[in-house]
């Protein structure tokens, strides 16, 4: 199968046959995304794995605080057909629990640990999802949640340098305008050989 449109149609059929699709999105002719129910993830991923999408490229999450949901995203890669499949599922933000997929993709172990660390999502079934992986000795809410304020954390935790004079640019639109205009006048003067126009 060389035509990428045919590839996406093939994937559409395969996924629709396997599970109920809540929302579908064709990102471009090599990427397609499906939003499905959380309980169907395991089944769909095992079907896709046996159909050729045998590499889990990435597992991560997106925080949607307005909806009070986390969206867990699984990205699958196929070495024969040029289509990435994103499988998305929304879970509750207050009690974020989603079953592990290490039974399908054993390499997801570390992605799940990462997602637990940065979003606080629990992955029951993965024996060490709560171990630290990237952040060492983290002492606040998970840092990639939208309600985490990195600059307040930075101000609290890391001392910053104090300057006797404030050099920061208050008006980014106009702070160089005078210099720029002076430069233009000077350039014009040179262009006429120093003669006044």
């Amino acid at each position: 199968m060389t035509n990428s449109i045919n590839n996406i149609e093939f994937v559409n059929e395969l996924v629709a046959k396997t599970t109920k699709i809540l929302k579908q999105e064709v990102i471009d002719n090599q990427q397609v995304a499906y939003e499905i129910n959380t309980c169907d993830v395991h089944h769909l991923l095992s079907v896709l794995k046996t159909s050729g999408w045998k590499q889990l490229s990435y597992l991560s999450a997106v925080d949607w605080p307005e909806e009070n949901k986390f969206e867990v995203v699984y990205i699958l890669f196929n070495w024969e057909q040029p289509v990435y499949i994103q499988v998305r599922t929304k879970i509750d933000r207050e009690n974020p629990v989603v079953d592990t997929i290490t039974t399908v993709f054993p390499g997801a172990k570390y992605y799940e640990r990462e997602a637990h660390e940065f979003f606080g999502i629990a992955f029951p079934g993965n024996p060490d999802y709560m171990k630290q992986l990237i952040l060492e000795g983290w002492d606040d809410i998970p840092p990639l949640r939208k309600d985490f304020d990195p600059s307040a954390y930075s101000a609290k935790k890391f001392p910053s340098r104090e300057y006797p004079q404030d050099y920061s640019v208050k008006d980014p639109e106009n702070h160089t305008r005078e210099k720029r205009e002076a430069r233009k006048v000077r350039g014009n003067a040179l262009r006429t050989g120093g003669k006044k126009q």
Partner: protein
Amino acid sequence: MLSTKFTPKTKLTKAEIDRKWWEVGDYFRRNSLWLLMYCTGCCAIELPPSMTSAYDMERLGMGPMATPRQADILLVSGYLSLKTLRRLIYTYEQMSEPKYVVALGSCPINGGIYHDSHAVINQLDQYVPVDVYVAGCMPNPESVLNGFVDLMEGIKNKTMNGWKRYHEHYEWYKENQKNSLGEVIVHDEFHQ
């Protein structure tokens, strides 16, 4: 004054002799500085042009060194995350004295573009003493080399005393490290 058989020999005190030996040592040291490149951030990309034939760091007697115990300069090139800072403190404490720290880029000075990040520290000299800062984002190879020449001048003028400050204010540095890092000890599940 040279002593001849007609003039009495000048007696130097122990401190004076030590100082002279330090000056001799500093002369050789500043002409063969070995760098431990801790390439933490993007400023590391300025080091290949500084080292290779375009700017040729070797003409200043400087060269790369693979191990901390044999290096004179700890070169911090770029931003430091909390994880990296732990390893950096390990490395700094392993280096043999005298040791100098050169920090490249604006991130070790005040955080640079990562000033509001949860993972990147803002000021390196709160945790280890820094002898030379090379400002810029990124500094070009001329300014990197200028920083090294400044370091050599400073060694000659005995102003590069970061490693002595680390001894004197050890508690202060340790307290800062503890406040920002929690604990400096690295727990690594893959090596334990």
